[in-house]
Each structure stands twice: as C-alpha cells, then as structure tokens.
Amino acid sequence: MSGVAGQLFAGLSLGSILLLAALGLSLTFGQMGVINMAHGEFVMAGAFTAYVVQQVISDAGVSLLLSIPLGFVVGGLLGVLLEATLIRRMYHRPMDTLLVTFGVSLILQQVARDVFGAPSVAVAAPAWLSGSLRLGTVELPVGRLFILGLAAVCVAALAVCMRYTVLGRRLRATVQNRDLAETLGISTRRSDRTTFFIGSGLAGVAGVALTLVGSTSPTLGTGYIVDAFLVVVAGGIGQIKGTVLAAFGLGLLQATLEYSTTASIAKVLVFIAVVAFLQVRPNGIYAVRSRSLA
C-alpha cells in the first residue's frame, strides 16, 4: 500500500468524522454562542438510535439508512428539550450554561448506562459497507467513503438551508442582529429553538455514522466533544466553511503527524498547533463580522 496516498485518505476520513461531530456544534456554539457540553451525548444518542433500530429491523442496510433521519430527529428533540428547559434561561451566561450542560451530559451517560448497560453494544455494518475499494495501491474502506459522502451531504444540506430558505434567512438574521430581527417580526425564540434542533440533530446523524467506526457505548460522546470544540474554534466562530476547512485540516494534520510519530504525540502536537494558530488568528480561520451592537 502506498503510504502517502493511504495516509491522505486516512486524514480525509478522520476529517469527515470530525466534521460530522463538529457541524452541529458550529450552529449551537458557533452561531448561537451556547457552550453545550452535552453535544457529545446527542452524538451518543444517535449511535444508540442506530442500535435500537437494528434490533427492530434486522436488515443492516435498511436499518442504517432509516437510522440517519431517525438519529437526526432523536438528537434534535433532545436538543430542543434541553434548550426549552434549561439553556434558554441562561443565554448570555456562558459559565452557567457550561456547568449545567456538563451536568446534563453526565446524566445522559448514566441514563444510557441504565437502559443499555455499561458494555458497548454491537451495531452490525451492512455487507455493502464492509470491505474496501482498491484504487491503485490504496485500500479505501467503503464504510469510510460512506461517512465522507454523508458529511458532504450534511454540509451541502445545511448550506442550502441557511442560504436559500426562508427558515435559514430568519436564523441568520437572528444571529446577526437579534433586536433588529425582532423588530422585523421574526420570532427569535422560535429561531433559537430551530437552530438548536438542527444543530443537535446533526449530532445525532454523526452518532449513527460513528457506529460504523467504533464502539457504541454510553461514553461514546466524550471521545469527540473536545475535538469538536477544537474544530469549531479553529475554524472560526459562526462560519460553516471555517468548520469544514478546520475539520479536514486537523484530520490531515493528525494523520500525517501520527504516521511520522505516534498517536499520543500527534494529539499533543495538534493541540499545540491549534493554540499557536489561535495566537496568530484569535478568531479562527474565518472571523464573522457582525453588525450587532452587542
């Protein structure tokens, strides 16, 4: 296997996973400024949705395809529930939000442990997603290609929704200038809730995809939450294209460094690289220019 090409794909593949985990966060954290530590548990909820669906529908292919929209709904509903009960009471109080959502994440993990048990459960991959395609000298695992494709679809759908639909215009208006949006008759409460639904829903989709990669366990989300924040911060708050660039950048960086050093060292170096980068560009790759007076 050719090392460089293989690693290039490993980097892109890791990037697509980071992107899926971070995309929802780029909405809730990036656009709305809510630090939701329970985002990782929405990812976990998506993964368990895939597990539950597979218990009902044994055909792995059908259950996976069905799990993607269902995971979106489950993640989204959990997000709306959290927003409506807790987060909306503490907008502009980031420290409170951080602590409260951290508590919620612990509760959700324990709930999952009580319902599904502490050991990880197995979600079978459909036959057409196992194995690999041979491209020249490189083996491309089909499951990873599928995740790359899914990430692309999610980004495209989100971009279209934000840019071209009435809903998207309202969401953007609320984020850019809340007061002005309200005077124009937009229900900013509803916008907040919708943004949270979409952002959390995307976390659920990420969870479904992650069942193809690793284990499905109650602590699944904790492994991704730090990386997801890292991607959003590096990409620049409130910019989807920044998140995309940062995800693939960090994925490629991690894969390259890991190949030449070790997994542990590579993780440290990636952290150092992001911190150094933020010294040069404190607002990430793309800085949002807001006309808001706040």
Binding site: A10, S130, P141, T219, A255, Y259, T262, A263
Partner: protein, 416 residues
Amino acid sequence: MKIPRTVIPVMALALVVGTAGCGAKTGAKAGADGTPSTSCVDTSGDSVKIGFLDSLSGTMAISEKTVNDSLNLAAQEINAAGGVKGKKLQIVTEDGASEPKTFAEKATKLIQSDCVAAVFGGWTSSSRKAMLPVFEANNALLFYPVQYEGLESSKNIFYTGATTNQQIVPAIDYLASQGKKSLFLVGSDYVFPRTANKIIKAYAKSKGIEIKGEEYAPLGYTDFSTIVNKVSAAKADAVFNTLNGDSNVAFFKQYKNVGLTAQQMPVVSVSIAEEEVGGVGIENLKGQLTAWNYYQTIDSPQNVKFVKAFKAKYGAKRVTSDPMEAAYTSLYLWKAMVEKAGSFNVAAVQKAAGGVTFKAPEGTVKVNGDNHHVAKTALIGRIGDDGLIHTVWKSPAPIEPDPYLKGYVWAKGLAK
C-alpha cells in the same frame, strides 16, 4: 464579545480534563487507628466471614461484577457442600467503586472491623497495588483473580490469574511454532501493554522474531486508520494486541475494513475474553486468536459443571471467562489451604499453601509456595462463529509461575 468566545472553550476543555483527573478524595488510613497485631477473625461459631471486594460501580463494574458473580457461585457451592472445615461461609461484600483508594479503605474495613478470614477480589493493577500495603500491614490474605503484568510477589497475596510467563510467553511460542517470523505490537498507552511489550520484544529477539513496529493508542482512542495503515504497510506475519476496552472495537472494525484477515495476518489478543466478544462484534473477530488459561468451551467434567451452574444461577445468555474462572478457583484454593492447614490462621494458611491443588474448570492448578502464584496451563484460542473461543493449542503441562521471569535468560535485566 469576540475574545471571550475563544476563551470559553479553553475553559470547557479544562473542565473536561480536570474532572477526568479527580476522583473521591478520601484519605486511606490503612491501619491508622491501632492496627491489631493479632487477628480478630472469629472462628468460634459455626460460620466464618470472608470478604468479596470488587468494583460494583464505576467504569470497572462491567468486568468486576462478573468476577463477583462467580465468587458468589463458588461460595454457594461450598456452603451447600458443608462449608470450610464445617463452618458456613458468611460473605461480606464491599464495593471498590473503580477507585484504588476505595479498595484500600474497604480492604482495611473488611480486615479490621468485619474481621474476615480472607478477601477475594481486585482487578486493575492499580487497585491491587493500593491494597498490597494494607494486607501486608495487617498480615491478612488477598486472592487476586486477574492476569497481570507480573514483577510482583507478596506473601499476603495469592495471584490466581496468569503472570506473563503463563500467557504472553506461550503466545509467542505458539506464533513461532506456526512459522511467524515477524510481529507488529499494538497496545493502549498505559502500564500493562508497555510492560508486556517490553517482555515480548526481549523474548522475540532471543527467538529471532523481528518486531516490525510498535504502536500505542491513547486510552479510549477511536480512529485507527493510521495505526492500521502502519500495520498493513509493515506486512508483519502477525499482530500482538494489548489494546484495552472499547479501542478494540475501532481497531478490529478498521482492520477488517481495509481487507486484513485472520488468515493473512492473525491478531493475538490478551484482553479479549468471552465477555468482550459480543461488544466488538463476532463478524469483526471471527478467526482471530486469544491467549488465556481458560475458555468456556473447555471440555472437562469440572468445566461443564461450572458453566452449567453459572448459567443456572445467572441466566442462559451469560458467558464465563478467564478472570471469572480464576476467581471461582481462588475460593476453592483457599478452602483447600485452610483444610490442609487445619486452621483459618493466616500464618498457618501461608505455610500450608505450597503444593495445594484444585481440579479447576481450566484443569488442575497448583499453588506455588514461594511466589504465591498458581501453575496454569496456557491456552491459545480461536474465536468462532458462535462468539465463543475454541482452544487451538495448549501448553503440554501446567506452567510454573515465574513473575520475575528469573528462569529465562533473555529476560535478564527486565525485572528492574
């Protein structure tokens, strides 16, 4: 509004990292309040107390609960057959809560206030290391049922799981006998895999087996693309896997997905037992190898009886694994020691321990009086379609335990 937004996530990260590092901060005071120089064990009645100390909560509960189950089965059987020296076992259960300090505290409590004759339990090496000074200071007995990295021996601990020369060394022997000339080492980044790999490298060198690579993944790591790429590029004859927990799932999924198979490059694992196969997924593990001293599939009257009794007590879907069997065996070994000594007295039991045997489900085991480990037969197994592990090779005889690898020339200098 701009600057705080980039500061806050850093605080969020600090919170995550910070909470991961801290646990219950309660001072262990082993023997602080007047350590009894003489044992307070009461053997005057028709029963005797023993302690089961396992993590029934926290991250280790998933594994240690199974050990607790098999200990209770052994106690139930022993009581049904008349107890030990005619005295019924009265069990005091304590929860180690996956926290070494809690293990030390609860061990102190079991010894000093409950006055148990012996304690059974522990899983992680850190829990054992935390309990060791407690048992030595109080001159009490601990039976520890899990395979570990060796390099330890205490007169107050009986180690009924394998040490390295009963698990890792035979696994290398097996691979060599299969004509494997090169190895790739994959492990989690903590003490057991690093110690195990040090031993593997020394032994491989002496046998002329080439080590083509050595990779460690942080605990809980989930993206194995790069590590598997390295494994695949190195084209070793086999992989030696000391990964822990959920990382195994991600590793084996990726391994299978890039088209690597058990036929072309088998993976030998030392931490995947019957309990773990289901979580990793049988389809990802089929045909891969494991190294242990017990499998549920062992066809002996003792094991058939053990498995049947276990399933009858805990449910037909439950499986039995190596640490569970070692725990079950440990209670019977203690019983045999007490009966040989004719007393529950610790010094008498220690004196009688050497040479005590038990017809265990894994085969006959024999206690080594010098290092308090147990002679065990090494078994290499292959994971079958049924999710169980089937023996493909066994050591010709039980292997004498050698925790410091003193009997191996190649291991010179490893113990320090």
